[in-house]
Symmetry: C2
Subunit: 327 residues, 2 copies
Amino acid sequence: MKKVTIKDVATRSGVSISTVSQYLNGRYNYMAEETKEQVKEAVRELNYQPNFMARNLKNRSTKTIGIIVSNILHHFAVSLTRKIEDYCDMNGYSLIICNADDDPDKEQKYINNLISKQVDGLIIMPTTENDELYKRMANQRFPLVFIDRYMADVDVPVFKLNNSEAVKTAYDFLQSRGAERFCYIGVADQLQLTPRVERRDQFLKLAEKNNHLEHQVIKDTNNLLTERISQEFVDTDKTGIILANDFALMAFLNYVSESGINIRGRHHIVAIDNLPLADVYQPRFATITQPIEEIASNAYETLMQQVENQTEPRQMISEYEGALIDR
Amino acid sequence: MKKVTIKDVATRSGVSISTVSQYLNGRYNYMAEETKEQVKEAVRELNYQPNFMARNLKNRSTKTIGIIVSNILHHFAVSLTRKIEDYCDMNGYSLIICNADDDPDKEQKYINNLISKQVDGLIIMPTTENDELYKRMANQRFPLVFIDRYMADVDVPVFKLNNSEAVKTAYDFLQSRGAERFCYIGVADQLQLTPRVERRDQFLKLAEKNNHLEHQVIKDTNNLLTERISQEFVDTDKTGIILANDFALMAFLNYVSESGINIRGRHHIVAIDNLPLADVYQPRFATITQPIEEIASNAYETLMQQVENQTEPRQMISEYEGALIDR
DNA sequence: CTGTTTTACTAAAACGTTTTAGTCATAGGA
DNA sequence: TCCTATGACTAAAACGTTTTAGTAAAACAG
């Protein structure tokens, strides 16, 4: 597969490389109509695709940004990526999607990879473990925004759900439905990820403030769920359950399904993150949807400001409210 | 943000550009230990990242492949991408993910984009509308494989589910459970996508062969579902339902949820594609899982053979069996 | 001590573009 | 008529690497 270069096009159309380049870049100012046609024809005939590498070795911008997704199997993450892709598309940018899998090493690898590929900017859902790297990027004024998570000492704009408010909304909702004891189900987190920490902390704070002594926090859905939660379920009709995210919800529903427990109408449930499943699952449960649209558009805009105006990234935490959907 | 180049590293470590390049490429054969250390130090201090553009302008390979996903919101597509990413990772390749959204124009844009970015090969779930482009790529011996779909006249290896067998398995299963009438629910398809066509055709063939005159094919879940299916549901206990994919399943469950119909135990259902939801939904229904692992590994291997051995793509349809999961 | 080999390093060409600074006709203006 | 402007094009430098073909010194063989 020998590649077609600008030289081939030049030879074929009988003009110089420079003229072909002018044509390709739409600078027709001083170009005879005939020449234009000849080049056009040659490009078509040879099916010429400009070499992006060569082009962007000269140019400043690659018109490409990268997103490093925490976990591509997470519905919130894909939906967000999907939205950002739309914005890129509308503005003539390409989006490279990388899946860090919540693995700091993989994340680091992808960051360096994308920088080396000269992306104009980076949107990251950080694992929070590579702070040295983030700081270095911020110092070098590399265009960068964070989504969903942040670190207090890294000066990068953040766009995220107002986790405390979301949990408060959930808690209030459950209380208004008559819940008397509360259970919070999260997922195992070796990493101190913002959403998990903020949500759990807020839950504990509220439980304490309301003097709801009978509350429970389940951190690891992998093995503990089955043992720990079962008695409570069997014993009471007045438990309010908060499911910290997609994974907690699925783990919980799996537990329900496997244990054969009938939760119909007996417990009130609010899940943070809005899986499509929520629209069809019986019994119905409430969810708190993430403000995906706002996060995506603001993160994109802010990144573009950095890319185009060369403003430097500075810490700025933008929180958006989740919306409770009571089904 | 001025970028650090190999020249800066050379100046800082007091050696020539060539020597730095040798170091970077791990050719230490004829290099003094001291020089090595100095360069290493300079690279570290400057946080130097080689410019991928420049590097791959010289090199043949970019060690990058692209995947063009039909629809990133489709569970099957993401899972497959996830697997392929693992293979890339293991072999030192990077994966660029693009979402064509089942839009032929977007697909074309991304294909050209990725070729222009000099990817070494491309994995595509084709929209089937860009056959001219596919053919041109195949002719130019551009390393290429298809997943999930194919066109008879395009000479590119394909890796996909054996759709006919999958539908037959589903049909047989429903029959064995006592279904007497059959309903197939697909999704609207302006495009003639392989899975949709093959599955529907097979259903019709089986219905005819078995002389099951009371069968129904619903193509468009958007508006027809509500009107068309309701009577049947209300009227009979012996309907067997085949849901053509993720989207059909969700549309159907939405319908069930909104209409308030109780399907508990009354109908037998098999859904093709295995959404995580299937593990938790009540009542239980059977699914046919796609052979994701096999498709991913074989597609990757075949692409790599083309990339590395310069073998040319030739049509070769590899079909893998789905597995019925009866819950 | 001379001639060859090995070691450690470097200058310069090349990759495929874009861009700058031209060249050379031709056309207008005086 | 000569001078300047403009129109149509091009040669060559530059981008940041890798690689080839070298050079010069040190080590070795005879």
